[in-house]
Amino acid sequence: MMLEINDLEVHYGAVRAVRGVSLVAAAGRVALVLGANGAGKSSTLRTAAGFLHGESGSIVVDGEEMRGKRAHAMVRRGVVLVPEGRKIFAPLTVEENLRLGGYRASRRDVSRAIGEVYEQFPILGERRKGMAGLLSGGEQQMLAFGRALMSKPRVMLMDEPSMGLAPSIVQTVMDGARSIADSGVAVLMVEQNAEAALRIADDVSVMTRGSITWTGVAAEASLHAVHAVLGDTALE
């Protein structure tokens, strides 16, 4: 399983948000994308998930060109996004949110997966019948993450999955992402919490103003080096 983004261009009217970005997420690996606010990270992920269609370039899943396909089609191919800003279904209950995450999965798989999510995030289990919109910010983030796990994706796109989470839960989520990758899923993660994410990432790219300006293997990329790059881009 593999997701390849080649030479992607995404524009919003006159704004060129993504300019010739190429990224690879391979099964079993966590690819991490870092970058300043407005660099174009979310735009890239949203295009890969089928919410945007981009101007040119290609998005290849398992050898098949998928750019321009709609999000529901991407989900059917196993590509799932944890969206920026949680985007939980506020008036539905926690459990209903999770069930929706498993919309494409069989009933039996769903029940099992729900159990797993509750195990990972016990607070969600306590609130299963409560309305999702009433959860605290961090609880909602857990729900968004758990919901994406429900469909047993093969490519997992995560847009700042640790946002608003307490440090201990950040750890849980990062460990979760690692173990998903280890189970053979390709993970492409955008994260601002570079410290936490670098610990579990395999590959790292830094995005600056719509382009990839630095790539490397996480093991070699010290936090310091990455920060230097990020700091530079910010000052540019």
Binding site: A36, E84, G138, E139, Q141, P167, A194
Partner: protein
């Protein structure tokens, strides 16, 4: 609970006594008391769902109290309707960005000042220009929130809160979605606001940043205060480490 010496020299600005907020069976805030003194930066840390945002909601009077009293400059305000609170010099930002989609960034910032204070219009415009500069938002002043990346929207959220020049500023996760450098910048901003005498009350999950920025930290768990004091003391507290930092040693490095 002990009161750290750092607070004593200054006049108290916000005094909260035994405040509780319940939602049905959920005791989101359960008997919290605290005193904030003028000109310092206070922080709250605590696990997800421990009641931090709800406490902010209580202070801004958006959620009703079950019990307790709150005083601002020695005057009780826990019976005030929410729209009175900004007039008392308290401004806030929200954990989830709440901007008007049909209005430009500049208009959204202006909104912060629309109902507060009797300041001449020219003066308001100057203040708006000033915060636009201060948060480096000039280039997007005419854009609409939905056209901005998440991190930039957060900056607008902060800008709207500080444009009124409040006496007490509540910021709920102001740097969520920002990277280390961007956070440092915001933290520098907060320190410079402190230099101008602004009292600030901040919720953040970035412990490092809280330690670097705050003068005094409260730690919450399941609706109650479990520790307070200087950043170093609170981080070292066993209960805080267990409930919040995730126990392990590496949490301290963060």
């Amino acid at each position: 609970m002990s009161t750290a010496p750092v607070q004593d020299e200054r006049a108290p600005i916000l005094e909260i006594h035994d405040v509780a907020v319940h939602f049905g069976g959920v005791k989101a805030v359960d008997g919290v008391s605290m005193t904030l003194h003028e000109g310092l930066i206070y922080g709250i840390i605590g696990a997800n769902g421990s009641g931090k945002s709800t406490l902010f909601g209580a202070i801004s009077r958006l959620v009703p109290l079950v019990s307790g009293t709150m005083m601002l400059d020695g005057t009780r305000f826990d019976r005030n309707p929410p729209h009175r609170v900004p007039h008392l010099g308290v401004a806030r930002s929200f954990q989830t960005v709440r901007l008007l989609d049909d209005r430009t960034v500049r208009d959204n910032i202006r909104l912060g000042h629309d109902a507060v204070g009797s300041v001449p219009r020219r003066e308001i415009e100057q203040r708006v220009e000033h915060v636009l500069t201060r948060l480096a938002l000039h280039d997007v002043a005419r854009r609409y929130p939905s056209e901005l990346s998440y991190g930039i929207q957060r900056r607008v959220e902060i800008a709207r809160a500080i444009v009124t020049r409040p006496r007490l500023l509540l910021l709920d996760e102001p740097t969520a979605g920002m990277n280390r450098h961007e956070r440092d910048e915001v933290s520098e901003l907060m320190l410079s606001l402190k230099g101008e005498g602004l009292t600030q009350f901040i919720v953040e999950h970035d412990v490092q940043m809280m330690v670097d920025t705050c003068d005094y930290i409260f730690a919450m768990n399941t609706g109650q205060l479990i520790a307070e004091g200087s950043p170093a003391d609170v981080i070292a507290d066993k209960r805080v480490r267990e409930s919040y930092l995730g126990g392990g040693d590496d949490a301290r490095d963060q």
